[in-house]
Assembly symmetry: none
DNA sequence: TATGAATGAGTCTTCATTCAT
DNA sequence: GATGAATGAAGACTCATTCAT
């Protein structure tokens, strides 16, 4: 599998409705694509990426195998769209939540809470995400995924943190490093929760992280 | 692939040197097994689990494909041993480091520092681990992995935290939840670092986490 | 190989044209299946079941190896269909011949003659059958084959013999035992003929058996 | 597998103790060979020839796999010896039983009774034999097996029948054809019995065959 | 737009055989 | 005599993809 191709595709972040009408992009076309992408996520979440052959996905969706081939250039493009969808949905949700908060302290709290709120409602998405991580075989693919998935999050967080420092409500730290740490904490808890949802008290962890980051970013007196 | 079988195998945690002499377990036999396991880790880390066919592993190790089949019952057993090795090495290292520390506060710091120290020296291991995560397709397999991989870590951390509360140096919190959170933070940072080592300041994050946990667990005045 | 599965399949005796339209069962689909089954019989008859790999069968038929995988769930299903075809053809022929005879004595003669007539025209079928016999490794598989292959024949014969006793034209004997014996005699001659067609005078044996059974079932004066 | 080689080997019918001392043929050598041959028969009878890999046979016997390779030129020679052993034992037994009878009528009865008596005591042998039949892929191999296995039996029977005709106790028939038929009847019953021993009344069939052949060979008045 | 059919590359696995000890 | 180790050939099977309809 040429994940370079795949990642190039992801990076392009093709907007859903391209203004130029690049393709036919008929309504039915887009509906089918979304249906297939959604089905792929479910299949991947349910049995792992390795078991998610086109045949199985098609079967789960209830369509013929070749329909997928017709609507997607190949499996790489499909998985690319899946990743796209997973990242997009999550990012959109978190951003909208954060935008509603005032002040760096509240925005940080909002970021964490939104992350966990979205998680709780879309376990399937994250199960699929974890399954897909292992597919980024090459160094380039991994790096590309990092640029697409992690960097936007880190930049978002970094902005909040830096603003807080400028506002004078946060102590001294390297914003970028703390952003990495915070995002890491969120993802790490998510990871355990994906592996066994019963073993993790998700709301408890969310609250604990909020408390912790509040305590840990507070300006030292 | 019957990962239940695999995970049962993992859970058994077959000690390397079985005292009963169940099999011959000749010296050369064990050496080969170790060589192959190590090679598999490298191959997986380098190209992803999906690309790590027995053929490629054998090729990387420089042996014939059937040598693997000779020394392992199948790919499942091999991957089982790989997981085993990954978990074992990490746990042994961290525990030995923690044991050398005095007091809950220092032990917590030691836990975090050891985790990052081991990481820094064994990036390949963690790349392989992330690749393997996606293989646990079924719910049972995921749960089994959780029990094998995460639970021991959480229990270890939980012990440290609870002791600290009893010593009176830690504030009030749910030890289990905080343990999940701390382990999550470590793993989440590791994850980003695996995806792009240049984008993460590993020592910086380690220091930040140590600081954060110190600030966040401190008994409030 | 799970011959239990296979035999379950055989026992089901799936009718060629399923009325419910369970699957599409398109014309071309059925044609291909029949082509492959026929080719498999030839290949098996020609070189033994052990040598009848999917590759060789495909080669003999003149198609790609994966075409077989496409039309059959696996080798087990293919061999199942082969057995099915072998038994079906033979049974249909014999029954139609017997049905045209009047009276128990003539029906018995018809049974023997039909068996040999069919044999003579379909040596390949019986060569394949003999080759397949050795594949029923487990006791269960053997028993299942017995139930599918031998029992119907014995019951058919048994019915003829019992009717003859009731008609008063046959002497006293255990119908079931004699049925086993008669069927055995037919198959045993067939066996030698399969191993070396030149060493067996098939029509002579047929005539001899007819005579023998006539003499041996005659009501003693 | 070169069954030509195998059959050539069988045909040679290597006497157990070769007078010329062709090989070392030490005592231990012969004992091992017999042990392995016996084990092979059991393994074949238990799971079919296809499952009877050298590894499994060795395992069942409780020796290392390479011991077989050491004592036999290859699997072909082993199977050759197995067939040899199967045929030899049976023939020796039947001949000795027949030799004890007086007169053609009694000798024929003895032949049938001996065949069934040996069968009843050595079901494993015949199960193995049936399994092996399918291995004779080529026409030459089948023919060779016919020459080795069937021809001696038919000649033996033929002799008895012809003598009976000369004595004037048997009616007119082609001895060779009737011999084929009688041997066929015995083997055919055996076959059903191998497939499901519970579905065949072996003593009943033996008695029925004795009666039948007596009635059917009797000189017509 | 949809799909049944076909296919070649690649996967794991089994196996008989060879060889050094 | 015996055997652990190694190996290449061959097996069944899966899969993404292509193509004609």
């Amino acid at each position: 599998m040429l994940f370079l191709v795949l990642m190039a595709y992801i990076s392009a972040m093709r907007p859903k409705i391209d203004p130029s009408g690049r393709k036919k992009s008929s309504f039915i076309e887009e509906a089918r694509r979304r249906q297939i992408v959604r089905g792929a996520i479910t299949t991947i979440a349910g049995g792992g990426l390795a078991q998610a052959s086109l045949a199985r996905i098609a079967d789960d969706v209830g369509i013929s195998k070749s329909v997928i081939s017709y609507h997607f250039a190949g499996k790489d493009e499909l998985i690319g769209e899946v990743i796209n969808a997973l990242l997009r949905d999550s990012n959109v949700f978190i951003r909208s939540w954060v935008d509603r908060a005032d002040g760096a302290r509240d925005r940080l709290r909002a970021y964490v809470e939104a992350s966990f709120a979205f998680m709780a409602e879309h376990r399937e998405n994250f199960a699929a995400m974890v399954d897909i991580w292992g597919s980024f075989g090459t160094v380039e693919a991994k790096r590309a995924f990092n640029a697409t998935a992690y960097d936007p999050c880190r930049r978002h967080l970094e902005g909040i943190l830096r603003a807080g420092q400028e506002e004078g409500v946060f102590r001294d730290f390297v914003p970028r490093t703390l952003a990495t740490t915070i995002q890491g904490a969120i993802d790490g808890v998510m990871l355990q929760w994906v592996f066994d949802e019963d073993s993790v008290d998700l709301p408890g962890c969310a609250a604990e992280l909020v408390t912790m980051f509040d305590l840990a970013t507070r300006r030292l007196p």
